[in-house]
Subunit: 448 residues, 2 copies
């Protein structure tokens, strides 16, 4: 038992448990800094991950530590926060208890910020053949897979196999897919070119496969067209109206499409963290997202709030809240404020999403941005993207390191993290969670 009810600390002040150290958890805990509560922040990792830059770790532009910050360090000086590293397995909302792999915690208030995970629209067996992009481990898996493919192609004498090795498929034309495809195209087309003797890395084929009629649907049609033009100029082969119908080892099949490849990045969809399906009788949408009340409470559980990618909400102004970082931060703060109001016997307030606009980077000096009616593309958008991401990145050291890496990459056309780590030179196109569990299955780990 982690927090026993006998622990005097928890007889004096209400105990707020926050699940997830993402944008929701961080902003909620900070909002509660001066509240008369004791907070336990729980994440299965020891760090807050700045997801928006994850694709740059996957494409060797940044090192993993550059975009991560230890949760304990973030809250070192906020004395009402206790950090716990463990993995949530189930939540009993009625008994007010969170069960994890190694501990159990009871709560007075709960904030669910467990976010999303890669989703396959019911084709979960595709997971083992594709690479997701949600964790640092998955990012370094993609980096290893991508760099290793070029190493193997360099020494592959069979032209058919060589072509297969140099074929990369990104499924999903949203921001993540666009950013991945663009960064991969730059790596293959510009960064690696001089380093190989037998192959021409720029002959690699980067396919971006999107089911819908255009890329970046959250932007204007003009901007979608701009994005596609830029990507095609960079050598990316864009397939629109092409839903993927089948994925097997080494092969992707879609309508009008069949590609032989060992490198499939899945950026086509996310669903809520699976835990949402193990919380008893609460309303979920098809993606497992919790359909919360307007004030972010979980129906029938007035002391439980959910925020971020794990919820599905149309706010009081009728706006469908998107699953982006700014909305997660806003919801996290809102949930925290409602707990304070509740403690003050005040009515809770409905959440109103403030749209800060959208940004997506395509490649060097090119991005699309949309703020409050204003729409701009190209260098200005790209520069704004860099600035905004530096500002929201956590930790001054990380900001400096990322800024310098970007400057250096921009000037030299090099990438600072072109190393193959993990499984040595063996490529394993599986996401890390799967690998980890397989390890657990076939190793006898000393302390699990």
């Amino acid at each position: 038992m982690y927090l026993s009810p006998n622990d005097p600390k928890y007889q004096t002040r209400p105990h707020v448990v926050i699940l997830g150290g993402g944008f929701v958890g961080i902003s909620a805990a900070k909002q509660l800094q001066h509240a008369p509560v004791d907070i336990t922040l729980i994440d299965r990792r020891n760090h807050h991950l700045f997801q928006p830059l994850l694709y740059q770790v996957a494409t060797a532009g940044l090192s993993a530590p550059d975009i991560a910050q230890p949760l304990r360090h973030i809250f070192a000086n906020q004395s009402n926060v206790t950090t716990l590293m463990d993995e949530v397995t189930s939540i009993d909302l009625t008994a007010r208890k969170v069960t994890m792999k190694e501990h159990t915690v009871s709560f007075d208030y709960l904030i669910l910020g467990l976010g999303a995970q890669t989703g396959f629209f019911g084709n979960n067996h595709w997971e083992q053949h594709t690479l997701g992009l949600k964790t640092l481990n998955e990012a370094t898996d993609i980096r290893r897979s991508f760099l290793t493919a070029f190493e193997m192609a360099e020494v592959e004498s069979d032209p058919v196999l060589r072509e297969k090795l140099l074929t990369f498929v990104v499924v999903g034309g949203g921001p993540t897919g666009v950013e991945m495809a663009g960064a991969m195209a730059e790596l293959a087309g510009r960064v690696l070119t001089k380093d190989f003797r037998r192959i021409d890395p720029s002959s690699a084929k980067i396919h971006l496969v999107e089911a819908g009629p255009r890329l970046l649907p959250m932007f204007s049609e003009k901007q979608s067209e701009y994005t596609q033009r830029r990507l095609e100029k960079m050598g990316v082969i864009v397939h629109l109206h092409t839903p993927v119908t089948h994925i097997e080892e080494g092969k992707v099949i879609g309508s009008k499409l069949e590609l032989q490849t060992d490198s499939i990045v899945w950026a086509a969809g996310v669903e809520a963290n699976r835990v949402s399906r193990h919380m008893g009788e609460i309303p979920l949408d098809r993606g497992g997202r919790i359909q919360v009340e307007k004030d972010l409470r979980v129906p029938n559980f007035p002391n439980v709030f959910a925020a971020g990618d794990i919820v599905s909400l149309v706010d009081v102004k009728g706006v469908k809240v998107p699953g982006v970082a700014p909305s997660a931060m806003q919801m996290g703060r809102h949930a925290a404020r409602q707990i304070i109001r509740d403690l003050e016997q005040k009515e809770t307030e409905p959440f109103v999403y403030f749209d800060k606009g959208n940004m997506a980077t395509i490649g060097r000096s090119s991005a699309v941005a949309a703020f409050a009616g204003l729409r701009f593309n190209g260098f200005s958008a790209w520069f704004a993207w860099l600035a905004v991401h530096l500002i929201f990145l956590m930790g001054m050291r990380n900001r400096v390191m990322v800024f310098l890496n970007w400057t250096w990459s921009y000037l030299s056309w090099h990438r600072g993290a072109r190393i193959i780590t993990g499984q040595g030179y063996i490529r394993t196109p599986r996401n890390s969670e799967v690998k980890a569990s397989q390890n657990t299955a076939c190793q006898t780990l000393p302390d699990t």
Copy 2:
């Protein structure tokens, strides 16, 4: 077959195969830049690793990419070098053939620079209970193991288990052991202190266990005493005259010593890369090191040279050549020069080791150094250590990043890479090579 004899390229110029992309391989290949030869540089990794700073990756001070440089990138502009990523399994010196996991290469000249691996003096079963420090994977394994121990201790209610979690043992009082113990003591005693709520990280016990009568035997007795005093001041518990006699899961036993711990870093010994034992009839010492001729040739194989940690040599001046980076670079260049002389029908020359002195860092502002009779300790030695390592680190970007990380750590007492990656939060005190092979054993990998 990787290089077919029909390949016209290899009928015109002699083919020099260099095994290992460490200090030997890099300096040998560069020495041959203008020689009329074709070079194939083979390493199982895609990067050159700057081993002297590996302990800082293990202790969260640096990111893995900061001390690694892609081999292809290093030789992008040296057209007579071809890089191949593969793992050597055996070498047939008579048939002039190198067999790897996926390829076979034939050579006219061979330079063996495969270096050393962690050695257990015949107790190879200790390997599974200890953490080595030879590769980036091992370094991040140590980082994960170390940081996870504190996470688990924070929530461990049993005081006995908590003490076990907070007990760390470094075996071996050479430079690596001293640097690891010092960096661990700083991390526990200064960096983590404010971040935990239940435990006091500075109460962690860091044991440094050395079989011999003093630390850093290659330095003067005065400097050994200084080193021990400094370490003890930092909280390290130093055990001299204490050979380790037994290691099992969670326990280290030595003369006058029994420690309960899950974190055992093995820095007590190295032996030559195992490949040296699969090369047929060549003279080896007990550590598997090749007893080369004075000119670095392998006895009876005039076209085969060995250099670096894989050789055992007393040079013509009677100096036993130590297994350090400078000697590896010198030997690598010497071997390359002998190949050039051989091509010019000149006699080969004996290798003469030029002793550049010794340096070891203990902790913040304290190190020991010895150059040409000159011996100095403390800040001056520490500063010299920083400068020398920055100069020899490969790649301007890496130098800048490392310099900034050091400056930042010095000013803030923080560490920039305090993230737990790899097996998630599950600690696996095994070295990565073992893990990798276990994975291969129990996963069906798509392309191995």
